[in-house]
């Protein structure tokens, strides 16, 4: 296990391996996205109260889950970079931040568009919405801090500390609807008893979630490969590849 970990830390090994996975990830993203969209928008039944308006859930919920997941990946990569000084961990953290920010933004916007017809307002300062907005600011802060420091190693260390401090927000977002009374409803899927959702609505939601996961994997690999080439531009293997 340690051997694989160390090998993955090598930029060249990562570059070769990710190149093999990339077309598969991209293809799966496309297939799952089409399947999930068709199932969710056409096949799944309308909701007993919200009618067709609930269908925004197929973008909103996967985006919100990804906003948390990407943050955990980013903070873990940050910790690995701090402890093992691993170049690849810095790259993963740095490339995840804009993707996580995009997912968070998407979750906030789709939620807001749904909120107007359903709740009667675009925005309310309840615990769930506020903590998700703080998550967006954490991502933006990460990106700003990184851009402000010229040296890549120093920037990665500073950003990793910021990401780790912000980890405390993740359980707050998840449990906000239980700890405090909020306008946002409780969890439908991630709960102790079975999901409070009809199976025919739940399956496309899970498919869309997988599609978002693979989308993240695909874009992360694409960004990370670019970043690796840039950071390793003075090494022999990159020069060799470019001149070929």
């Amino acid at each position: 296990m340690w051997l694989f970990f160390h090998k993955l830390g090598s930029p060249k090994y990562f570059y070769d391996l990710s190149g093999k996975f990339l077309p598969w990830f991209g293809g799966l993203t496309l297939i799952l996205m089409l399947l999930g969209s068709y199932w969710g928008l056409v096949v799944a039944p309308a909701d007993y109260q919200q009618g067709d308006s609930y269908r925004i859930i197929y973008i909103h919920v996967p985006a919100a889950w990804m906003s948390l997941f990407v943050y955990i990946v980013m903070a873990s990569a940050g910790a690995i970079g701090l402890i093992w000084k691993m170049k690849m961990a810095d790259v993963v953290a740095s490339c995840s931040a804009p993707l996580g920010a995009a997912f968070t933004f998407l979750a906030l916007v789709t939620g807001s568009l749904w909120g107007k017809p359903m709740w009667g307002t675009y925005w309310v300062w309840d615990a769930r919405l506020t903590s998700e907005l703080i998550l967006l600011f954490l991502y933006l802060g990460f990106m700003g801090l990184e851009a402000a420091i010229d040296d890549k190693r120093t920037a990665a260390n500073a950003c990793a500390v910021l990401a780790l401090v912000g980890v405390v927000n993740i359980p707050i977002i998840h449990y906000s609807v239980e700890w405090w009374n909020t306008l946002h409803q409780g969890s439908t899927v991630a709960r102790v008893d079975k999901p409070a959702m009809d199976v025919n609505m739940l399956i496309p939601l899970l498919i869309m979630w997988f599609a978002f996961m693979f989308y993240y994997g695909t874009t992360l690999f694409m960004r990370a490969r670019n970043e690796v080439l840039y950071r390793e531009r003075d090494t022999a293997w990159v020069k060799e590849m470019v001149t070929e």
Partner: protein, 154 residues
């Protein structure tokens, strides 16, 4: 432990990171606990009737619209209903357009002030959606089952 870093300085760093994350967690936990009342979006009818809600000040109340309590005016948009948390009921009046999801038995959050006679005068009413999603037929079936249960009890 095979999973811990092998070098002492790396173990130390790992320890520092764990301590930092836990320290921030405890600090934020204490702050949010101290601010619990401010983070909560609304007061329940029981809290309002116990005098916990601010007087002469706008605040929000939340709860279910009590079944059978909604009365609409015939000549304007005024609507009166009661909000319940199943223990206590609070009368509410509101003039304006209600959200689509507003109906009896549905959760709402209303912003406004407590009037002199103990009625909550709302300036905004929001519908609180619950976490259940099902096709209309399933919703019908549950309603019918509840009706049968209610008649059996009587």
């Amino acid at each position: 432990m095979g999973l811990l870093p092998k070098h002492a300085h790396r173990r130390k760093k790992l320890g520092l990171i764990v301590m930092m994350v836990m320290g921030v967690g405890v600090a934020v936990g204490m702050v949010t606990m101290a601010l619990k009342e401010n983070i909560n979006l609304f007061f329940s009818p029981s809290q309002v009737l116990a005098g916990e809600a601010p007087k002469d000040h706008t605040f929000r109340i939340g709860g279910m619209v009590r079944t059978g309590s909604v009365r609409r005016s015939n000549h304007n948009l005024e609507v009166a209903f009661e909000v319940t948390d199943t223990a206590k009921n609070l009368p509410v009046v509101f003039t304006g357009i209600l959200p689509d999801l507003f109906r009896e038995g549905q959760g709402i959050v209303a912003q406004g002030k407590l009037g002199p006679n103990g009625t909550f005068i709302a300036s905004e009413v929001l519908a609180k959606h619950d976490e259940n999603y099902m096709p209309p037929e399933a919703g019908e079936a549950i309603k019918n089952a509840q009706k049968i249960q209610a008649t059996l009890k009587e």
